[in-house]
């Protein structure tokens, strides 16, 4: 029950402006829930959000508390494991489970922030480019081409090196690298919508540029953007973890998963759990979001919907 209301608040702001929003949502949910994987992904995502919110209540230990008498304890089912450290401890005796739980916060936070920056910035720039065309459009699109000419991770890596290693800078760099995709999508959508009757009608009725751009045209271009946003969400988590792995992302002792993995890499042969578990956490989280993204695409993309 709660599940049906959660996505409605999530999507009303974007998808539905017209009065038939209930019907549209019902239709959306129908197609979404047809995809079993998407529903599993969705519920798992909800679970992650809850874990992140209630981390202090769930986690058995503080994420940075060092238990000097319990260094590199294996998970409880292995010989030498202890029940008080379910998934074992790391080289300075911190509880892995607690760090993974707190790590959820960072990963979701990274996803939300990066996607928001890239989405908002991308929409803004894209709408301007698509609406005004002319030299504004040319300059903007050339700039985007420049960003796209670099492999994204390489560009993010150098950007972080410029800005200084750290989570904030990693997020800024990744958002910047993701930006052009949103700009391109928005611009294309705006251009195709611009000549439609309802836009022309609004224009004739005397609507100003701003109103036309953001109130009239934009809401009708949201579907591909939402799909792209979920994709960015999962890619942001992956890229931030990769930067962490290369030592350029979140800095220790932050329990960010990629950084945990990088910090523990020297123990790969001796203590499998310190390396394997953070990676697994990344994989599962990204997988859940991608599953959800697939469902969203099926539900929102009219072309694939009925195939």
């Amino acid at each position: 029950m709660a599940g049906t209301s959660a996505p409605s608040t999530e999507f009303t702001g974007s998808v539905s402006v017209d009065p038939s929003r209930r019907a549209r949502f019902a239709e959306f949910w129908y197609y979404f829930s047809e995809n079993r994987g998407a529903v599993i992904g969705f519920w798992f995502f909800v679970f992650l959000v809850l874990v992140a919110i209630f981390a202090p209540l769930i986690a058995p230990h503080a994420p940075n508390a060092q238990y000097r008498d319990a260094v590199l304890v294996p998970p409880f089912w292995q010989e030498g494991g202890r029940v008080s450290y379910l998934l074992g401890t790391d080289p300075v005796g911190r509880d892995i489970l607690s760090r993974l739980i707190y790590g959820t916060r960072y990963s979701l936070f990274i996803g939300v922030i990066v996607t928001t920056i890239a989405l908002v910035g991308g929409i803004f720039i894209g709408v301007i480019a698509g609406y005004f065309r002319g030299w504004v459009d040319i300059v903007i699109m050339r700039l985007m081409d420049i960003i796209l000419a670099f492999p994204s991770l390489l560009l993010a890596l150098v950007l972080v090196a410029v800005l200084g290693p750290g989570l904030t800078n990693a997020m800024i760099a990744i958002a910047l690298v993701f930006q052009p995709h949103f700009v391109r999508l928005t611009r294309a959508a705006v251009m195709s919508e611009k000549s439609r009757d309802y836009v022309v009608g609004a224009k004739v009725a005397g609507a100003g540029h701003l109103r036309l751009m953001f109130r009239t045209i934009l809401p009708n271009c949201m579907a591909p953007l939402i799909v792209q946003a979920t994709l960015s969400f999962s890619n942001a988590i992956l890229d931030a973890a990769a930067l962490g792995f290369l030592g350029m992302g979140a800095q220790p002792p932050t329990p960010e998963w990629g950084t945990m993995l990088a910090e523990a890499r020297e123990f790969i042969l001796r203590a499998w759990w310190v390396v394997t578990l953070p990676g697994l956490a990344i994989l599962i989280t990204v997988l859940a979001i991608n599953l959800m993204g697939d469902g969203l695409r099926d539900a929102l993309d009219p072309k694939l919907k009925r195939s």
Binding site: V71, P91, A161, Q251, P252, E266, I268, L269
Partner: protein, 531 residues
């Protein structure tokens, strides 16, 4: 006699070459690519291992496994009574390597020695800037430009160095990798051909191994030099397989893809010891890691405060957590393997209660401070952040709030030199030449404030002792002065001495004759593989 043995060696080599199966190839999984092959240009240990200790020799060499010098290309030397003139007599009959890219026509003589030094020293030497951005870091770093007055050829086999002042560590410096002796004949040929760059790509010297080929970031190949003045090596081919990741190096060692590797993960050492195919050599490294207070900033200008903090830090926990036990807690600023190490000095014992009381007695309350953690791993400090986290939690126990800060490496080095720096810095040092001067004066002398003296500590008593020791030529006298200096250091506690790391070298069981160098070099002359 010499000729005979080398001829026999050549013959032996020839017979070995004919049967490829019997050729012994030794593979070293090195940790990083060499920067180049001219050892004067660089400071990285990888470069020295790949060029200086294979292809080249020096006038004097460090005796294997020690920091004492022994004759190398110089058979003998004399020091004048005023300590300013060093006359080196060159070893006769030393041949340069014959390779596919160069065939020497003459043996080593004084011209080669003078050329090797002058290329680093004289700005008007055509070789001084033969690669773009050439700079002779170690030559400058060891103070040679200010120290040398002249280098003269007395005769074909005799070279005289004249110094501007007395400098006891000079002989040790001459044995350092940067002072390798190149072939002037080869250099002239390259210069005539307009291919000077090749000196840095295809080195040619007098050393035990001759360069064959380098594939960037992957493999370096050498062949044993059949004409080597010290006799041909037991192995026929030497290969450096560049493998940057320590876990991967271990895997390769385990799989028999290489015979020896440097810098294992401390975490893997136990498993290595248990592996019947491997063995491990251990030695205390010639290094120290420290936490340097800024002794000019209150409250760290008070000895009592420094002492109290020193007592609060559990060094053993750092040794365990960062090095998995493969290090020793440090009490002196020089490592125990170094001569003049004062074992009588007593360390500040780890005692949080006493530390807390001492801090209160010094009238310091609610102290909060910064701890600077290096962003890179060094042999003396594998993981400064982890060490800083451990210190942070130790200090928390005596009510001191510590904040960990870090910067990019070059910035870190630079900012930590600032005299008004806020916070205590984790840093360390690896000895260059085995002389205590290279630690005590370089890191703690008054001249080094604003430079290598990260504690900004200028203590007259200490400084007088080390300056006197630098000029004295009698070893016993120097030892006494350095021992005294260590006592003063401990009393004043400008640093919390953290650790001296162990250098651990895992190798295949069938490797014989490898001798660990206290200076951290990896040299493979004398190494053999037995079946």
């Amino acid at each position: 006699m010499k000729f005979k043995t080398s001829f026999a060696a050549a013959l032996l080599a020839a017979t070995m070459m004919s049967g490829a199966a019997s050729a012994k190839t030794f593979v070293y999984c090195s940790e990083a690519s060499p920067e180049g092959f001219d050892p004067g240009l660089y400071t990285g240990g990888n470069t020295f291992d790949a060029a200086a200790h294979t292809v080249y020799n020096r006038l004097l060499e460090f005796k294997k496994g020690t920091t004492e010098t022994e004759p190398g290309l110089a058979e003998s030397y004399e020091v004048s009574d005023d300590g300013l003139q060093y006359t080196f007599k060159l070893r006769p009959g030393v041949k340069f390597q014959t390779t596919e890219f160069f065939t020497p026509t003459r043996e080593l003589n004084a011209d080669d020695v003078i050329f090797s030094y002058e290329r680093m020293w004289k700005a008007d030497n055509p070789w001084n800037k033969y690669v773009e951005g050439a700079s002779w870091e170690y030559f400058a770093g060891m103070g040679f430009p200010d120290l040398l007055a002249s280098i003269e050829k007395v005769d074909d086999m005799t070279v005289k160095f004249t110094l501007k002042r007395k400098e006891a560590p000079f002989l040790a410096n001459v044995a350092m990798p940067f002072a390798s002796i190149l072939s002037k004949e080869y250099a002239d040929k390259l210069q005539a051909d307009g291919k000077m760059n090749q000196m840095n790509q295809m080195p040619l010297g007098t050393g035990p191994f001759a360069f064959v080929a380098y594939q960037q970031d992957a493999v370096i190949r050498y062949k044993a030099n059949p004409d080597y003045w010290g006799g041909k090596q037991k192995i026929d081919d030497l290969v450096f397989a560049i493998t940057t990741d320590a876990s991967v190096r271990y895997q390769k060692l385990k799989a028999g893809e290489c015979h020896l590797m440097p810098y294992p993960n401390a975490a893997d050492v136990e498993a290595m010891k248990a592996d019947p195919n491997l063995k491990i050599a251990e030695q205390e490294g010639l290094n120290v890691a420290y936490l340097a207070f800024n002794t000019t900033q209150p409250p760290f200008d008070k000895v009592e405060v420094r002492k109290a903090l020193s007592m609060a830090i559990n060094k053993q926990a750092i040794v365990d957590g960062v090095f998995q036990g493969f290090a020793t807690p440090a009490k002196n600023p020089i490592p125990p393997t170094m001569w003049s190490y004062n074992d009588a000095v007593e360390d500040d014992k780890y005692d949080p209660e006493a530390a807390k009381a001492a801090l209160e007695a010094a009238g310091v309350k609610d102290l909060s401070m910064k701890i600077w953690a290096m962003p890179v791993a060094r042999p003396y400090m594998l993981n400064a952040r982890r060490a800083a986290e451990l210190m942070q939690s130790d200090l928390d126990k005596i009510g001191v709030k510590a904040e960990i800060v870090s910067y990019e490496w070059a910035e870190y080095l630079d900012k930590s030199r600032a005299k008004d720096r806020d916070g205590a810095v984790i840093l360390g040092w690896t000895g260059d030449n085995g002389d205590p001067d290279n630690f005590l004066d370089t890191l703690l002398g008054c001249d080094a404030v604003g430079g290598n003296n990260r504690a900004m500590w200028c203590d007259k008593e200490f400084d007088d002792l080390v300056t006197k020791a630098k000029e004295a030529s009698d070893q016993a006298e120097r030892t006494k002065l350095y021992e005294e200096a260590q006592v003063v250091f401990k009393k004043q506690a400008p640093w919390v001495t953290i650790d001296h790391s162990l250098s651990i070298v895992p190798m295949r069981k069938n490797v014989e004759g490898f001798v660990q160098s206290p200076l951290g070099d990896f040299a493979f002359d004398g190494v053999d593989i037995v079946e």
